[in-house]
């Protein structure tokens, strides 16, 4: 049986249960970011892992794509209230990255670094989940520039601003460091099922 959830496309009862409070269902994938879509030069592009790790490393895109691949079928939820269900991402499991980096016990938080100085912060306990990946493909195609080409993080259990586009590195740190939106009033934890949108 189907029902409507507000305006927009028809949502089944099963889908309705997967949409957190205060969200609406969309079949589109809205593009939301601040500033401009960065221009990426693959000749100089790299992805770095550093900080509280025993094996810091950096990779070019070709090396990244040679790592073991993982497919992820998941739902995503944006703080601006849209939710998109049944998305397919593909890339490298974050747990593959963590294993290679060999985190020290002092690595309790991660700062996700992206182009143009954008950062997002997460506890390592949240990052280290089997549904978290560094994606270079979405819905069967390479990421488009406005969705994060060549690489973005996907953290489905958090509002999507934590899933930084245009990712360039992961810095593991002993103490939490608020990211861009978190510094200016977004909630530090960002759990959509608790509606943790803003800190005030």
């Amino acid at each position: 049986m189907s029902s409507f959830l507000g305006r927009g496309p028809r949502v089944s009862d099963e889908q309705k249960k997967r949409i957190p409070p205060g969200q609406y269902f969309t079949e589109k994938w809205p593009v939301l970011h601040y500033g401009s879509v960065p221009r990426v030069d693959l000749k100089t592009w790299d992805f770095k892992v550093w900080g509280e790790v025993d094996n810091p490393f950096e990779l070019g895109l070709a090396e990244f794509k040679e790592m073991p691949r993982k497919a992820l079928h998941t739902d995503i939820h944006c703080v601006t209230r849209w939710s998109r269900l049944d998305m397919d991402f593909e890339g490298v499991a974050i747990q593959t990255i963590l294993e290679r980096a060999q985190l020290r016990p002092t690595a309790r938080f991660v700062v996700v670094h992206a182009e143009q100085g954008y950062t997002a912060n997460l506890p390592v306990d949240v990052l280290d989940d089997d549904d978290v990946i560094l994606a270079d493909m979405a819905d069967g195609a390479p990421l488009t520039p406005d969705h994060g080409y060549p690489l973005r993080l996907v953290v489905p259990k958090r509002y999507f601003w934590k899933s930084a586009k245009w990712v360039r590195g992961l810095q593991f740190v002993p103490a939490d460091r608020p990211g861009f939106w978190e510094r200016y009033g977004y909630h530090n934890d960002a759990d959509p099922w608790k509606e943790e949108r803003f800190s005030e």
Partner: protein, 92 residues
């Protein structure tokens, strides 16, 4: 240390007034920042490291590459950042 005096008060007040103006939020923010830069240049307000960091974030939020539209979250980012900036300017 907080900068005092008529010039500092005037710069703070005008910064807030420009932000509250009718019109496009991003245009208002750009005008408000220009007024702020004038106040820094004249010594009416002091640019401390925290303000410099916030202004750097604001620059990225409003950066518009040739041929591109400004991102859909730019206005919101500008609103959040200028709210923080107003708080910092009270002590600048």
């Amino acid at each position: 240390m907080t900068t005092t005096g008529a010039a500092a008060e005037s710069a703070r007040r005008e910064f807030s007034e420009i932000l509250a103006r009718k019109g496009h939020a991003v245009d208002n923010v750009r005008d408000a920042v220009a007024r702020l830069e004038q106040a820094f240049a004249e010594g009416a307000l002091t640019r401390n490291p925290e303000i410099a960091g916030v202004l750097a974030d604001l620059t990225v939020a409003l950066e518009q590459n040739e041929g591109q539209k400004l991102g859909g979250k730019s206005a919101e980012a500008a609103r959040f950042i200028t709210r923080r900036l107003e708080q910092l300017l009270a002590d600048a």
